[in-house]
């Protein structure tokens, strides 16, 4: 009976969402206080019942209720209990339920922290959030019900969670990402409400900013965690693959970053109001597209739609209603928000505007690269793939001027700055960021190459200008900008000065990896809770000290899935990464050895950006 309760509470939640969407606005004119009260009650009810439904699904996983199809497809008896919890969002149905739960969480949070809003605005915001919630609830109930049951006992073991997903990174990565995706729904609902009311006040922008920052923080952390997980768990040392799934999370992040900056402009100078609204719509639309792209299986093939036509049709209709409706409303009402902009070409506004232009262009290039194969396949023009080289060769040249502008913009004043005054203030920093990287590389006797040198110089430029800006006490901005530079340094050094070796090693054979002597000491059998395998012993000799690490090759008992579990020797300045390939003759193994300088900086930068966003969110802005 318990799974049925889960479905029932989902239906009850749907009723609450329906009430929230329709009823409070009826009382708005006569009893605004009562309308406000209703909104809070319905939002709470919606949250409680969706939460209940989600908990029931989690419970089904914990007690291995294999009569529930979704549980059987994504869990197994031998799975440790915390991975059973991860498995709740390991498949399509559960992850959409997680999405819905997070939406109800954000909706509840808006209800709770919106005292400064007028009742009429609050009711509108909540109605729009409720409409999105209805869309998702119906999607789950009609096409992707995780509580669907079957009573034949087909396979008592369960089909298990993909071993790749059995990792601590996966426990946090999807919920964080979803917190970010769904968080943009708040900004979206606000944009819609503003268009509905036909005006955008300063309290409005001040109010929406922490919400945008909150979801941006979650998204940043989610992407960082995902990249770290891919590096550790996918086994081959890559940290970003320009995979459509990753792009789907990256695009809302880019637009979200643009939105944070354009909000700043709208709040201070009352310009670009319509643009800010449009960005809010874009951020949420890309989040929606991302969710569906990843979860519907369209990415592997457009024909995945044919597998479950109803699901595909629902997604298309839902997307066109939400995105199309929002854009139509924007087209009708944006005129009212247009403002006469005064823009000097050398000012903070101009830099922020360029920031927005660059970020949107970057999003556009990523979107094109992601959808291009789908479009070509859909038109029947052939099957092709757009690989990482495309993204690298488009992204890098756009990133470089972007970093330069980032550094310049921080040092500019609102409305107008004189070029000469600026140059007088910054000439030493320009010189320092040109000279320092060259000096550092030369001292460490590292070969000078043009592109990494340019990237390093620009990173130093961003770092130095952020530090110089510390007198402004915008610690959030400082931390985020420093984080960006740190990430760029990590990306650039690890990709240009990293060493990759594929070797065939017999026991007690050594290989030279840069300045490190690496010896394969031997391999032993391994037995884990739900896998067996081989554990190898590698000695890393740097000349000064010796480390020993143990990469593994696991074979998961359910389905006999092999998995590479790489071992990494970590210091802040370099990783030594060893992954076992396959066993060959005479006890030899195919082995991949990596030397990755500064790779940790990639995620350290992500963390800095996250902390910066968090600080900016919590801090009260001076009025």
């Amino acid at each position: 009976m318990i799974p049925e309760w889960g479905m029932l509470s989902l239906v009850i939640a749907l009723i609450f969402s329906g009430l929230l969407a329709i009823l409070p606005s009826r009382f708005l004119k006569n009893k605004p206080e009562f309308a406000n009260h209703l909104v809070n009650c319905y939002a709470l009810g919606q949250f409680v019942f969706i939460g209940l439904s989600f908990s029931i699904l989690a419970y089904c996983f914990l007690v291995d209720d294999f009569t529930v199809r979704y549980v059987m497809a994504n869990s197994s008896l031998s799975l440790p209990w915390f991975y059973k919890l991860c498995a709740v969002w390991g498949g399509h149905e559960g992850s959409i339920l997680l999405w819905l739960m997070i939406l109800s969480f954000w909706t509840g949070a808006v209800a709770l922290f919106s005292r400064s809003l007028t009742p009429s605005l609050k009711v509108k915001v909540m109605a729009i959030l409720a409409l999105i919630s209805i869309g998702f609830s119906l999607f789950i109930l009609l096409t992707s019900n995780p509580f669907w049951r079957q009573f034949e006992v087909l396979n008592v073991e369960g089909q298990s969670l993909n071993p790749l997903l059995q990792d601590i990174g996966f426990l946090f990565h999807p919920p964080m990402l979803y917190m970010g995706y769904v968080g943009f729904s708040v900004a979206f609902a606000f944009a819609m409400a503003a268009l509905w009311e036909g005006k955008l006040t300063t309290t409005f922008t001040a109010w929406v900013r922490p919400w945008v920052l909150a979801s941006w923080c979650c998204l940043t952390l989610g992407i960082t965690l995902g990249s770290w997980w891919a590096y550790r768990e996918l086994g081959w040392g890559g940290w970003w693959f320009w995979d459509p799934v990753e792009n789907a999370s990256f695009m809302p992040w880019l637009v979200g970053t643009a939105l944070i900056h354009s909000l700043m402009m709208t709040q201070r100078e009352h310009v670009f109001k319509a643009w800010t609204i449009l960005l809010s719509i874009m951020a949420f639309s890309l989040s929606l597209i991302g969710t569906f792209l990843v979860r519907s299986g369209v990415l592997t093939s457009v024909h995945a739609f044919a597998v479950s036509p109803l699901r595909g049709l629902y997604i298309l209709v839902f997307l066109s209603i939400v995105i199309g409706g929002a854009l139509v409303l924007f087209a009708l009402r944006a005129e009212k928000l247009m403002s006469q902009a005064k823009l000097y070409w050398f000012s903070k506004e101009a830099a922020l505007m360029l920031n927005n232009v660059f970020l949107v262009v970057l999003t556009f290039t990523v979107l094109l690269g992601t959808l291009y194969p789908l479009i070509i396949d859909g038109l029947g023009l052939g099957k092709l793939s757009v690989g990482a080289p495309y993204f690298n060769s488009v992204f890098v040249p756009i990133m470089l001027p972007f970093l330069a502008i980032m550094g310049v913009g921080v040092g500019l004043k609102w409305s107008k700055t004189t070029v000469i005054v600026w140059y007088q203030n910054f000439k030493w920093l320009i010189l320092a960021s040109l000279v320092l990287p060259v000096a550092i590389l030369m001292i460490n006797q590292i070969q000078l190459v043009v592109l990494p040198l340019a990237a390093l110089s620009l990173s130093f430029w961003v770092i130095l200008t952020s530090i110089k800006a510390c007198r402004l006490k915008h610690w959030g901005m400082m931390s985020a900008h420093l984080g960006m530079a740190v990430t760029v340094i990590g990306v650039c050094l690890s990709s240009y000065y990293g060493i990759e070796l594929d070797m065939r090693l017999k026991p007690h054979e050594s290989a030279l990896l840069g300045n490190y002597n690496i010896t394969f000491e031997g391999a032993e059998a391994l037995k884990g809770p739900n896998y067996t395998g081989t554990q190898a012993i590698f000695k890393i000799d740097s000349g000064k000290d010796v480390h020993v690490i143990y990469p593994e090759k696991r074979i998961y008992t359910v389905g006999m899935v092999p998995m590479t579990d790489a071992a990494i020797d970590v210091t802040p300045f370099r990783d030594i990464y060893i992954a076992l390939g396959e066993p060959l003759d005479e006890g030899a193994w195919g082995v991949r050895l990596y030397y990755k300088p500064f790779i940790r900086w990639i995620w350290a930068g992500g963390l800095l950006m996250f902390l910066g966003g968090l600080y900016a969110m919590i801090k009260r802005r001076p009025r």
Partner: protein, 142 residues
């Protein structure tokens, strides 16, 4: 009003310039970095270009995988059940590379008409067939 118009023009010009550069980059990058998919039959009939990055996919023929005794060089045969082709590769094969499994290899056909792979992909799911491969196999069966 005149100054305002001038500023607006500047905004549009700068946006247009960045967009133009981006589009040029995209077109340039798309030209070089797209890899088209071919089946072993298409490769056999010479439909696939020489010395250009392509992807081929099919099932790994049972008993066809030969490792070099001293290095990581490996060769195996791919089939779409109609035709077969030999794939040469040097490096580590992915975890789910098995005989009888559908895989996709990315690489180039050299002057000697050998397909040399730079990357071999097998999806992380034992039930999964790359969509191109399953389509190719279906066609081969008929």
């Amino acid at each position: 009003m005149h100054a305002l118009r001038k500023r607006r023009l500047m905004v549009i010009a700068s946006v247009g310039f960045v967009l133009l550069v981006a589009i040029a980059l995209i077109l340039f990058a798309l030209r070089d970095n797209i890899s088209l998919f071919y089946t072993p039959s298409q490769v056999k009939t010479g439909a696939a270009p020489l010395n250009k990055l392509i992807r081929v996919g099919g099932m790994v023929v049972k008993g066809s995988v030969k490792h070099h005794p001293k290095s990581l060089a490996v060769a195996f045969t791919l089939t779409d059940l109609k035709q077969t082709m030999r794939v040469y590769y040097r490096g580590l094969l992915p975890d789910l590379f098995r005989e009888g499994q559908g895989i996709v290899a990315q690489g180039k056909i050299n002057a000697k008409h050998q397909f040399v792979a730079i990357q071999v992909l097998a999806k992380h799911d034992e039930k999964y067939m790359p969509p191109e491969v399953s389509a190719a196999l279906k066609e081969g069966r008929q």
